[in-house]
Symmetry: D2
Subunit: 429 residues, 4 copies
C-alpha cells in the first residue's frame, strides 16, 4: 500500500486547505488555555511536552512536504533536531527522555513556527503546487496531527495527575450516575472474513484505491482474509461498577487470574485499581481533565492496562476479542459513534452500545504485520511498522480522539503495561 | 483439552516405568561429569542452577503424583519451597533470582532425593496404582523433564561462557567447514489449513483422543483452522557464512533494518554479532559446550535473538514465517529429523534440509492462545498459558533437544531479546 | 551556638529592611531575563527549577517568620507543600525528583508571591515587630537566599548545558588568555590553631556573641582548637593549562592516581575531562553561562569532582589541604577577595592569588561536626547538621557566590562525585 | 612507614614458619565443615565466596613473595586473574560481582593450591631465603589472611541468612540472658594526644621501628598529635535491650534522629531493626552462625549500620566518639580483651567492659589519611589508601576477629550503610 492510494481525492486546492486548517486549528484550541509552564515538562519518557507536540506535528509538514520545494526557506534548522520524534532516516534527534529540558524554543516561538508553516502550506495547497503523492503526505500529516491531539490530552492528563492539588484543564459539571445496564451479548458468525483497509482481498489484486472509505495508515492493510470461529461479543464496554466488583472479589490479589508478566507488574507497582483512581475517606475518585472527581458507576472503565483487562476478562469467565473478531463485529453491527473529542468535556460519559468513541478497547491480538504488509516508502515508512513487537492492539476510539480520526479498521497499539491512554475493554466469549 | 487426552496408552505398567526411567537416566547422564561447584551457581535470573533443575523436575513428580497418595512420605517438606518454579497454586517459593544462593540441599542430597522419588514412582507404576489422569501427569512430567534437559545445557553453556577461560563440558574434535549450499526455496500453497495438536478442527467436536500422535502440551491445541496465503519457505536455516555477510554489510549499524525495540536493545547492549561470538586476532570464534571454537561457516547460525532474526530477514529481502506457515511447511514437506540431543556433541552440525532438530527457528508469531484454548486443570495449568504475553514463538527443535521431545506442533517461546537458547532462523517470502 | 548569637546588631528597622530588599532584588535581577519555560524544568534530581528556587527562598521567610504572627494571612497554603525543601519538621513535601513537573503555580504567580511576602516582611521590619530571635532568622533567610542565588546559576548552567545548541544566559566578550603564572608556595606554621566561627575556643566558655565578625551558619562553630603540622599551600588555584597537562599525561587512565571510588566512577561515566568540557575539531571548549567558549588556559579549572581534584593532586606530587589548613592559610595570608558574583559575567577570570571568590576549592576534609556542635533550635536546625555524612568540604567562594556571602570560616559541602558546582582546587604539601 | 618497620623480628626461620602455618591452619579449621556448594556462591557484591577467600589469601603469598623467586613454578597462571581482588598494578581481574560464577577451580583444586603454596612458603622460610622486606610481606600476608578469616565468617553469615531455613554453621547451646548492667561513664582528659602506630610523633623523626608493638597496617600511621577536648565515654557497648527501647520509642520513625542519608536509606530499605533481626510470633530473634536464635538482651547490639548507630546516639542524648577519642580511651583505660574468634561460638556474648573483641564500634570519624600518610611501596600499597573516601572508621574488634589481629590503633572501615560486619557502637558525650 502506498499512502496516496488511501487518500480520497478532493475537488480543489481550497478544500485541501480547509481540511488542513481545520485540523491545525483544533490543536490551537486544545492548547489555548495552557501556560508556558504547563507546556514545558515531560512527566515520563512515554509522554512529551505539549509544546513539543505542537512543534513536532508542524515539523512533519515542513520536513516531508515543504522542504521538497527548493524555494522554501526552512524556519530554523535546529528544529529538525528538536522535533524529529523517531525517524532514523531524518538524522540525529534530541534524546527522548530529555524533551522536557528543552526550554528554547519557547511557546511563543513555537506559535510563530506554526503560523509560518501554516502560511506556507496553505499557499502551496491553494496554488495547487502539490502532486498526488504530496497531497497524500498532507493527509498523512493531518492524521498524524489528530493522533497527537489525543496524545496532548493523554500526556497533559498524566502531567497534571502528578500534581498534588489536581489542576483543572477544562471545567465541567459533575456527572450523574444512572442505572447500570445489564450486560447483553451479540452473536457473530465466523468463517472466512475480510479484514483491514484497502482493496478487496478476495478479488483480483489491484494497485487502485481502497474500498472508497478514505485514509488509512499503512498498518491497516493489506485487506486480507482470516478464518474466524463463531463468537459472542458484549454489547457494551466494561463499566466502573463492574470493575469495583472485580476489586471487591480480590481481583488484584489472585494470581490465577493474571498473566505471569501482569502479576509480576502489579506486585512491583502495587496497583490495586485502574490508573488515576484513589480511595480516600471511604470513596473512590478518579483524576480527570476536570480535576479529581467521584467515580461514576455506569461510565466505561478507563486507564486500565492490557494486564488488567486480560485479568478482568478471565475473572468474568470470558476473554478479550481478537482484533479481527472486534472488526468483524464493528462492521456487521449497528454501531453508533460515541463521544469523540469534545474540548469542553474530554472524558467518556455513560457506557452505551457504541464500539467506537468512548474508550479504546484492548484486544487479545499482538500488534503484528498483516500478510503482505509493506511499510510506506521513505522516512514516513518508519511510522508504524517498526513498532510491531511486544505491543498490543486496541480498537475503537476514545472520548479524546478527534472526530474524523476514527474508523473500524484503525489499529492503535500500546505495551501491555501502559495505562495513560484512554483504554478500557469489551468482553468476548 | 485435558492432559490425558494426549497420552498414547501403553500396554503395561512396566512400559510406563521404562519410559519414566529412560527420561530420568538421561538427566543423570547429562550431569554426571559436573562438579558440585558447577551445579550451584545461577548465571542470570533467566537461568537456573543445574542442581536446581535436577531437583525441580523430581519435585514435579512428587508434588503432582506421589503426594496424592496418603501413604506416601514426603522426602523433605522444605523442598516444595525450594523447588517449586512458578506454580502460585502450590504456595510460596524461593525468589527466582536467588536460586544460586541455596547451597543446602547440596548435590549429594539431590541425588538421593532423585533416587527416593524414582523408587516410589517405579513402585507406583509397576503396581498399576495410577489411573489414567495420573498417568497423563507422569507423561507430562517426563516431557517437563526433557524440557529441563535442554534448559540444563542452555543454562550451563551460559554459565560457562562467563568464565574467562572457556571450560569444556564435552570434548570433541574440531568440525570441518564444508561447501556452502546455495539457498533454495519451496512453495507452499495457502488456503484454509488445520494447525495444532488434537482432534480435527473441521470435523465434529469430540472429547476423545487426538489424531493419534501422542503427547502434546495444552498450548498446542485446540487444533483449528487458519487461512494462509501462498508462500515460499527456505529449504534450510540461515548459516554462519550468511550471517557474516550481514555483519559485513553493516547489518548491526543500519537502523532501517531493525524493529524500534531491537535497535534500542543493540544500542544499549553493544551487540555486534550473535551470542557467544568473539572476534579475536582476525578470526571469529564462538563459545560451545566444547569450549571456544573457530566458527564453522556452513553451520546454522545459533544464539540470535528475535530482534536479530527479524533484522536479518529484512536485510535479506525476506521475512520470518508465521508459526502457521512453518507448521504447514513442516507437515507437508519431506523433512528429515536433525541432530537432536547427542550428549557427546551438544552443538548443531552443518546446515541441512531438516526443519526439526538443528536449531530452534524464530517465527513472526507472537505467543498467543489458539481459539478455544483452555489451560489444563489444576496447578499444572500454570504450565504454559500464563506466559502468553510478549513472547515469540519458535518452532522445530535444536541440537540439545532430547530425542522424542520434538514434533511439528511444538510451540517453544522466548522474549524477543533472549539469545541463550539454541535459536536460529529460516526465511520465508 | 544559636543563630542570634551570630547576627551583628543593626541600628534600625529600616536598615534591616534595606539589607533584606537588597538580597531579594539580586534574585530578581538574576532571573529577570529567563522565560517561564527556562524557569520550569529540573535537569537532574540534585538541581531545582529556577522558579522553585525563587518560591522556596520566599517560603522560608513566610514559614519561619511571618507565620508566627497570628494576624498574618498565608499567601497560599499549598505553597508549604510545594516549596519546603527538606524540613521534616514542617511536614510533607513534593517529591524532590519531581519538582520540574509542578507547572502551577507559574512564574507570574511566584512573582506575585514574592511581592506579597516582601511587602509583609518590610512592614514587619520597619514596624520593629521582630525580636532578636526573629531578626536572626531574617539574617539566616537572607544568607539562605544568597546561597540559592548561587544554586540558581549552577542549576541553570546545568540545564542549559543539556541543550544541543548552547543557550546564552549572559552575553559577554571572549576572554584573552594570558601568560601562565608559575606556581609558587607559601609556608604556614603548624601547632595549636583556632578554627571556626564564634567565641574564642581557648578563652573562658561563654554564651555571648562571637568574635564580632557577623553571621555564620551553625556548622561553622563552635570555634575550637586543632593541632596542625607545618605545611605549604599553593599561592593560586590549579589552572586549565595545568589540567590539560594532567589529561595529556593520561591522568584519567591511570588507576594508581585515583581513589577506588573515583576510578570506578570515571570508568562508569566515561569522564575524560572536567564537566562541560568538549574536545571538538582539535580544540577544547567549555560550556559557560555565555554559551560554549574556547578554553582559557590561565583560568582556574572549574567543575571538577572531588575524585578528580584528589587524583590531580596525587599526580602533581602534592595533596589537597585539609579544611583547617585552608582556613589557617586564609586567615594568616594577605589574601585578596576574588571575582564574586557579577551578573554580567558569571564565570571565573584569570587565576590570581585570591583564596576566596574565584572557585570553590575541594579540601581533603570530610564534612563532619566540630567538637561541641549543636544544631540550631527548631526546624531551621535541619539546615546543615543532617548532611554530615559522605560529603566533602569546599572552602572559599566562587565567581557566582554573591558578594557578602563569602568568609574564611564558610564550609560548603558536596558529594565526591558532584561537579555542577563551580569547584576547583588548590594544592598543599 | 614501610611495612618492614612494623614487623617484630623473630629469632629463626622456623618461628616464621610456625607463625605462618598457625594462621593458615585457622583458615582450614574455619572452612572444614563447609561443602563445595557452601563455598561457591556470592550473596552480594560486597561479599565473596568462601572458596574465593581461601584462594585469594593464598594467591597473595604467591604473587608478592614466591613469584619473586625465578626458580618458583607458578601453580596456575589463570589464578592471578581469578584471585586478584583489586590490585590494579597486578593486572586484569575477574569482575567482582561475578565471583560466584567461577565454578572452576573448585574446592578440591583450591585445597591443593593451598598445600602447594604452603609447602613452597615453609620451604622458603625454613631455608632463610627471605630478606627483611620479604619477611615483612609474609607478616602482611598473615594479617591479610586473618582479616579474610573474619570476612569468611561475615560473608558466610550473610549467605546463610538468605536461606529460608536458617542453616547452622556451628552448633552451640542457647545463651542465658543475665541482668542488664546500668550504663556508666568514664572521663578522659583532653589536650594534645598522640595517636596511631609507629614512632613517637613528638620526638625526633626516625626511620626506625615503631614503639615496639609489632605489626600495623600502613593506614594506622604515622603516629601523630591531635588536640582533644575533655570527654566521657561509656564503659560498655550498647546492648540489645537498649536497642529495643530505641525501637519502642519509634526510633526508626522519627526523622529528627537521623542523618539525611540515613533517613533516606531506611525509607528505601524498610529497615526497622538491626540486620538479621526478625519479629515473629511476638518475639524478636536474630540470625546467627548457629541458626536463628532468640535475642539475648544483655549482649551488645550487632549488625547495625553507621546510620543506625548515629541515630541511636542522638536518641540517647549522646554521640559517637571520634576515632581519636576512642583510641585515647582504649590506651588509657584498664581494658580487658573480649571474645575474639572462638570457632565453636562465632557470636558475641554478654556485654562487658571490654573495648576490643566483642563488636566493632562505629566512630564519628570518616576514614581519612593521617597527616604524612604514605601508602606502602608497590602493589601492596593499594591495600588501604585507595579506600579513603566515604568510609567510616570502626575501632576495636569483634567476636569473629582472630586472636592476635586486634590492637588499639587498628582502623577498620565500612560504608555508612554496611551492616553485615559484626558492628555495634559505644556512646560518648
Amino acid at each position: 500500500m502506498s499512502i496516496t492510494n488511501r487518500v480520497a481525492p478532493t475537488s480543489s486546492g481550497s478544500t485541501h486547505a480547509d481540511r488542513f486548517l481545520e485540523v491545525r486549528e483544533l490543536t490551537d484550541t486544545l492548547t489555548a488555555n495552557l501556560s508556558a509552564e504547563d507546556q514545558t515538562p515531560q512527566s515520563m519518557t512515554d509522554a512529551s511536552p505539549v509544546k513539543w507536540h505542537r512543534a513536532h506535528v508542524t515539523w512533519f509538514f515542513e520536513e516531508f512536504i515543504l522542504r521538497t520545494d527548493p524555494s522554501y526557506t526552512v524556519y530554523d534548522e535546529t528544529y529538525r533536531y528538536h522535533f524529529n520524534s523517531y525517524y532514523e532516516a531524518v538524522g540525529a534527534r534530541h534524546p527522548r527522555p530529555d524533551r522536557g529540558l528543552v526550554t528554547r524554543p519557547g511557546v511563543a516561538d513555537i506559535t510563530h513556527y506554526r503560523e509560518y508553516v501554516d502560511s506556507a502550506m496553505v499557499d502551496a495547497l491553494e496554488r495547487g503546487a502539490l502532486d498526488d503523492a504530496a497531497l497524500g503526505l498532507v493527509e498523512l500529516g493531518c492524521n498524524h496531527e489528530q493522533q497527537h491531539q489525543e496524545l496532548i490530552l493523554m500526556d497533559l492528563k498524566h502531567l497534571f495527575s502528578t500534581h498534588a492539588f489536581a489542576p483543572v484543564y477544562v471545567d465541567r459539571e459533575a456527572d450523574e450516575t444512572g442505572e447500570r445496564e445489564p450486560l447483553t451479548w451479540r452473536s457473530v458468525q465466523g468463517g472466512i472474513t475480510e479484514v483491514g483497509a484497502g482493496s478487496e482481498a478476495s478479488g483480483p489484486k489491484s494497485n487502485g484505491a481502497g474500498s472508497g472509505t478514505g485514509f488509512a495508515y499503512d498498518n491497516e492493510g493489506p485487506r486480507h482474509r482470516v478464518f474466524l470461529e463463531d463468537f459472542e461479543i458484549a454489547e457494551r464496554a466494561v463499566t466502573n461498577a463492574e470493575w469495583l466488583a472485580f476489586i471487591a472479589d480480590d481481583g488484584y490479589r489472585r494470581p490465577e487470574l493474571w498473566l505471569s508478566d501482569g502479576w509480576a507488574h502489579i506486585r512491583e507497582t502495587g496497583w490495586e485499581a485502574p490508573g488515576y483512581w484513589q480511595f480516600t475517606d471511604g470513596e473512590w475518585t478518579t483524576f480527570t481533565l476536570s480535576g479529581r472527581r467521584r467515580l461514576v458507576l455506569d461510565e466505561p472503565v478507563v486507564h486500565v492496562s492490557f494486564y488488567e483487562a486480560d485479568a478482568y476478562a478471565r475473572w468474568a469467565g470470558a476473554r478479550l476479542p481478537t482484533e479481527f473478531e472486534w472488526e468483524a463485529a464493528a462492521v456487521t453491527g449497528d454501531v453508533a459513534r460515541g463521544q469523540l473529542l469534545d474540548p469542553t468535556r474530554c472524558h467518556p460519559g455513560r457506557a452505551g452500545t457504541t464500539m467506537i468513541g468512548d474508550v479504546w478497547e484492548w484486544t487479545a491480538s499482538a500488534y503484528l504485520p498483516y500478510p503482505g504488509f509493506v511499510p510506506a516508502n521513505g522516512a514516513v515508512g518508519e511510522y508504524n511498522g517498526k513498532f510491531m513487537c511486544d505491543q498490543h492492539v486496541l480498537r475503537g476510539a476514545s472520548a479524546v480522539t478527534p472526530r474524523g480520526h476514527e474508523r473500524a479498521t484503525y489499529r492503535n497499539f500500546f505495551p501491555a503495561s501502559a495505562r495513560w491512554a484512554f483504554a478500557g475493554l469489551r468482553l468476548a466469549r
